[in-house]
Symmetry: C2
Subunit: 406 residues, 2 copies
């Protein structure tokens, strides 16, 4: 696969004290690359997670949901090339084997070991390959975050990472995070796996609160093709090694700065996934205002972002606001045709339900020729706002998903 | 546009006594074809209708909803080439002008005149062209149903009609129906307009009951691209000229036969729209069973039918049941991964959450090479069933919707 035209270079990412990454070969597929990631986490590491809402989720997701409730983590293992989804008890046994193997090595509880898998579905993760891959990883030299980003990827066309820092009561804390998602050649699902590592000292409950809040405005506001993976997972690990006074809630000194840094990293990660969307040629930001609530604005935004007719119009560099009207109307949210305004690149094309008489299409046409597209939709009903991100729908998407076979 | 490979020939359609169609040129676009349809209906004609749920609907839909409540119709006018949607008060004035012009000609109430429009949106229907077009139609010779099907079409690649008959207490009644939808070259919305004419003597209330019931299992069970038009309309007109004893409810003699005939025609029409789906190369029937209710089964079926990953897999002739699992799981309906079974062309690929060990892919591969694809999905939870219809997602869809401009 060619690298996405919307790719971003991998950022300089600081090491996180208490989080040591390693990669190795499990050879889940007939490829010569690392495909198993192992991150050892210091004792006392807090963990938080958000998971797919797909009810046909993988064993990894089912187990992860339960493990997160305990709040503590000692290790993360990520398998690439096999999602282990829809594999019943055999798939679950393979996950439990990995948890036991790492727990024996670290002298911790199996429930302290988090496992994710991504790749083809319906094939139980082979236990022998997993065992050998984990053994290789445990013995490997520590590696960079960029190597982690490359190893968790499957059909991604570029490695994706984000970083941020914050000051908490005079202590500087660092956040390094990686994600994989979209861009595929084997016909798998557009699985998204994201991992956030920080040396901040944070209670599990407040870490979860920060991650859940950021998730609502970032990962829950992106879409490539409206299809929800069975394996989507974002985990946040806080080792506490920065030595700041523990953040236990929104009133702790420095809590706002930490929450903002987590939000910033989640926003960066989520947008990188869109930038690697299958076949994407354009990155689209849709800002919805005037909705009856923020949640209503988000739903309207996603209805627009998921509309094949809107996405193909942007691919064709066509300011087809009629299709936007259609998408608003089908969203199932309060909307009034005669109060609706729509603009592209900061220029209104229609206001209050009518095309603008003096609408100047030239600047809009120029904007649509670019790679970064901005769409404004005002519903004229209330104060609800949301911004969502998507990519266009192109021949590349069809080629990736229809022209190859499992 | 080339004719869809899934096209069906236009059937022999009987004239309906009391319903006289005419077509004429209004020249809504710079084309040399009839684009205005006028059907005169006998006094006492019953009417029923179902309309789009898109809240940004056109004035035609808003007015139609109110007119149907009165239960009587004397005329139908259909404009092709301009949907008159998102055109505010100016669009509404154009519709009211048409209603007044026809009402004056027939000596009836304006509310007896039903108007539909389909085509580009955001441009008010030009009143002068509408007036001349209606005048031309009122003076034209009666025409065939096939001419009506051609005239209401915009980007359709073939004319679509369906017919049925029924015996009501010794009287034979006829139904002739036409529809337009999908297949486009100008980037409009995939608007669906359907018209059913019968000489049966039916009360408006029972006609509505039959149409609404059929709609749930036919028009509400098809999807091409998940985008809901602002103008979707299906109207049924019953002239009463067959002279049968009036059908007033499900207990009237012959009511079952009539309801079945209406259902049959709606099923034919809805499937013809899918067969002209934009870029369609394959017609897909998805039968869902074992859901907690019929409505739940329908929602699961539509989640599968709307999944870009499922639709591209079928385009690629790939029995990718993993994508079906994903689509079931994201539908938001009760489902249990470990009770789910999936099959193609009558062959089960996975049962009770596990791939079948003795799964023979050869007959499935042969089935997927054909034009008519059958998918079975059993949720293993209850007695709910539904069948939905869709088409595959191909490069043709992208070409039609992205490679052309408004």
């Amino acid at each position: 696969m060619d690298t996405s035209p919307l790719a971003r270079p991998f950022p300089a990412m600081p090491p996180i004290e208490g989080a040591v990454p390693r990669v190795a070969r499990a050879r889940y597929k007939t490829w010569d690359r690392c495909d198993l990631t192992y991150v050892e986490l210091a004792e006392g590491t807090s963990v938080a997670g958000v998971f797919t809402r797909n009810v046909c989720c993988s064993s990894e997701v089912e187990l992860g949901r339960e493990q997160v409730k305990l709040g503590r983590a000692r290790a993360l293992v990520v398998n690439a090339g096999n999602s282990n989804a829809f594999t019943g008890y055999r798939g679950r046994e393979a996950v439990e084997q990995i948890m036991a193997q790492v727990a024996a090595h670290l002298g911790c509880e199996p429930s302290d070991v988090f496992v994710s898998s991504t790749g083809v579905i319906g094939v139980p993760l082979p236990k022998d390959k997993a065992q050998e891959g984990v053994a290789n990883a445990l013995a490997a030299e520590p590696c960079t975050w960029e190597a982690v980003a490359e190893t968790i990827g499957t059909t991604d066309t570029f490695a994706k990472g984000a970083t941020a820092s914050a000051m908490i009561g005079g202590t500087r804390i660092e956040i390094s995070a990686v994600i994989k998602g979209s861009g595929m050649i084997a016909p798998d699902m557009a699985t998204m796996l994201g991992y956030i590592f920080t040396d901040a000292n944070v209670s599990p409950a407040f870490l979860q609160q920060c991650l859940s809040a950021a998730n609502e405005a970032t990962f829950s506001c992106i879409t490539v093709d409206s299809d929800t993976s069975t394996s989507d997972t974002v985990l946040a690990f806080a080792t506490g090694k920065a030595g700041n006074e523990e953040l236990t809630g929104p009133d702790s000194p420095g809590a706002d700065a930490f929450a903002a840094a987590i939000h910033d990293v989640c926003r960066q990660l989520s947008q990188l996934v869109v930038r690697d969307g299958e076949g994407a040629q354009k990155f689209i930001e849709i800002a919805v205002s005037g909705a009856v609530s923020d949640e209503s604005a988000r739903r309207v935004g996603l209805a627009i972002a998921n509309s094949p007719l809107v996405k193909t119009a942007i691919a064709g560099e066509d300011a087809n606001w009629g299709r936007v009207v259609m998408a608003v109307g089908k969203a199932g949210e309060p909307a009034d045709r005669d109060k609706l305004s729509i603009g592209f690149g900061g220029v209104w094309a229609a206001k209050n339900g009518l095309p603008l008489a003096d609408y100047d299409e030239a600047p809009v046409a120029a904007h649509l020729k670019g790679q970064d597209i901005r769409m404004d939709v005002d519903l004229g009903l209330g104060d609800g706002t949301a911004t969502v991100w998507t990519c266009d729908l192109t021949h590349g998407y069809i080629s990736i998903n229809a022209d190859y076979r499992t």
